[in-house]
Point group: C2
Chain length 247, copies 2
């Protein structure tokens, strides 16, 4: 499985993805699920993927291969808007589905996958899309500034409590790491390292990239600190006066 989260906030965007893939429990590997399509000063696009690895890798390979073969053609380095970029990823996803779907369906293999695509292209503000396995998509708004794909539920409560459109980027990064920590504690299919990218609004630059490994000092501090805070918070709340001895 996988866990990815992306946030479009007032001052910038945050992207984070784990890197564990598994086919059953005995075929566990590390694959980067974050791809960037950058042109310094002009665009920064970030693509996060969850789901069937063969499908998501094929989508990325085709997007890159075609952009290389025809640099001036219709590709993620030339599309005029983030909306057009989302359409192109969706079309490519459908193409792979048509090509590989029948054979995989015959073996009852789920070939579906999801993408988060966010970033900024010169002339537009920053935008964030959540692409469904069918290739259609929704866009983040000020009311709903974040999307998750993959194993999203364990790490959702902390985001729901903390994140708003006005949250500063360093706070968002802290929240994302706590969200990943909660997910990894409850689900073995999500694992380190975590790839993070922080993009400052209107910078049109590469952003700050960080791969968070097991020995990352800040992540260790957050993990330990959050666990201790939670236990202290739990202990500080009263127990109910419900007459426990009646049982």
């Amino acid at each position: 499985m996988t866990y990815c989260v992306a946030m479009r906030l007032e001052t910038g965007m945050l992207f984070a993805s784990d890197s564990r893939t598994n086919a059953g429990v005995d075929h566990v590997s590390t694959f980067r699920k974050m791809q960037t399509f950058e042109r310094e000063g002009e665009r920064q696009l970030v693509l996060l993927s969850a789901g069937n690895l063969a499908t998501t890798q094929s989508v990325v390979s085709l997007l890159r291969q075609r952009a290389k073969a025809e640099p001036d053609g219709h590709n993620l380095y030339t599309v005029a808007s983030m909306y057009d970029a989302a359409c192109l990823v969706g079309e490519t996803l459908r193409e792979i589905g048509q090509r590989d779907g029948p054979a995989l369906s015959q073996s009852n293999i789920d070939f579906g996958c999801s993408f988060l695509l966010g970033g900024q292209i010169a002339g537009e503000h920053q935008r964030l899309f959540n692409l469904y396995p069918q290739g259609n998509f929704i866009e983040a708004t000020i009311d709903t500034p974040y999307f998750q794909i993959g194993e999203a539920k364990y790490g959702k409560p902390i985001i729901d409590r903390v994140i708003s459109y006005q949250t500063a980027l360093p706070e968002a990064a802290k929240c994302a790491l706590i969200s990943f920590d909660s997910t990894m504690k409850s689900n073995l299919s999500v694992g380190l390292p975590i790839d993070m990218l922080l993009y400052r609004a209107d910078s049109l630059g590469a952003g700050l990239k960080r791969r968070v490994e097991e020995d990352d000092a800040y992540f260790q501090q957050i993990r330990r600190g959050w666990g201790e805070c939670l236990r202290a918070a739990f202990a500080s709340l009263p127990t109910a006066d419900w007459g426990w001895d009646q049982g």
Copy 2:
């Protein structure tokens, strides 16, 4: 959807279930998902259900109807062990599946459901089982003292951090309410009231039953307190020194 949790701890057992059911978003109702089969001084069995409501209600109706028709027959009031009780629930579930399954499958309706069955019968220690939609089941142990069914993921992290076999029952109740609060904050398909039952080990009594409604003073205290604690804990942790201005 539904969220139920049950814990088998050293000093007793905790059962909690929400009461929201929905067929789509426009058919939302309140149904109790906790059933008890009690014989004071001799047995206390608690059954929690999640999944297709027609299926779970049929299972409970058949179990009750047959016990009433033949009080001395093989039923939840007469079985000699919790293991036999779990077998009987599983068999009844399979019977409904065979009766209703074909018609529902034709309409692509998911008729599956899950049960948590726990309690104690005189002569045995307290036991807890998690029954799968196929009618087979697993039993809780000292290492894994709790089970969840339904919308389990949102509320799992707090249980994983706090609960062990040695946790006292009032602390377990506090944890369960926090787990429900986190779930209800992130998922509309789980809703109040919450039915709770606390059973003291070896009491063979009815236990302490409580229906937690919106205006329950203790639940309000826990909700508000937990939200405040989480935000304070989050604020107390440092942000990373990753060079945020490079973006």
